[in-house]
Amino acid sequence: MIFVTVGSSMSFDRLVRAVDEWAGLQGRADVFAQIGQSDYRPKYITFVQFMDPPEFRERVRSASLVVAHAGMGSIITALELGKLIVVMPRREHLGETRSDHQLATVKHFEQLPNIVVAYDESELPSKIDHAETLPLTNQDPPNASPRLISTVRDFIEHSSVSG
């Protein structure tokens, strides 16, 4: 099952439409989407608007591939559960987000294993096809940096109780 997710805060019609049309052309019945506030209503794939965090995690866990906006919740959850993820950035000038931080995110994450980037909807179908040919890696899920964890822990430990 391919799990498509665009978060809950703003619409992302370009991604939802592109995946829906790809699924229609390919005759794929194994695609499930969380479309959030998108106006476009899929014709070929099943979808919900929203889901709670535990269901979201379970959907990622049972997916063969995740296709998502370049939100950190989607990216981190997919990597934690050892999934391949195809991400497409929301763009500010199209009214899909309030800043182009998702574009910055994908530029910096592109070289990581298990992440495939589609910069726009025209690239998305071929990137999904490509991602489906990639082997599911059995890498250990990425850990938070030990230095970050010890920095935060030591800071708390050495804070004065009296404030």
Partner: protein, 156 residues
């Protein structure tokens, strides 16, 4: 440190808005295991992800919604007063900024970890919060500055 004091578990208020901010806060869990942690999210839906901890939900405010910001500030002020944390930690966004400001006001030490999503520049909240965060962190080495924010690693 006196023996008695070492037995008192530090109280931590851990605050994040939804989606990626919340997921990144949970990535810090290994740093928090020794402490008495109360979580604050922006929906009751997050409660089930921090079973065994106190949990509060506050209004999901953004910097474009002044009424929601005010509501969240009142809720966070009440939570901070009630919990009296030693340390407030946040991964953003607007509710986290408010929690850091209020934490400071109530005498807590404060930690801001700017979202890893902000790879080109610090978030707006992350910039504004700098002078109120005792530990002010970015997750990108190229965004580190001598006067802060500092880079000490990332959640990935």
């Amino acid at each position: 440190m006196p023996l008695a004091a070492s037995r008192i578990r530090k109280k931590v208020l851990a605050v994040a808005s939804g989606g990626g901010h919340w997921v990144q806060l949970l990535r810090l869990a290994p740093a928090l295991v020794d402490f008495d942690v109360t979580f604050v999210g922006v929906s009751q839906e997050y409660r089930s992800e921090v079973v065994g901890h106190k949990f509060y939900s506050v209004t999901d405010a953004t910097r474009w919604d002044k009424i929601a910001l005010l509501t969240a500030a009142v809720q966070l002020a009440w939570i901070t007063w009630k919990e009296k944390p030693n340390v407030v930690v946040s991964t953003g966004a607007a509710p986290g900024y408010l929690a850091i400001r209020l934490g400071r006001l109530f005498g807590a030490r404060t930690i801001w970890l700017d979202s890893i999503a902000n790879a080109d520049c610090l978030s707006m909240a992350g910039k504004l919060v700098g002078r109120y965060a005792d530990l002010w962190l970015t997750q990108w080495p190229h965004l580190e500055r001598a006067e802060g924010p500092h880079y000490r690693g990332a959640v990935l």
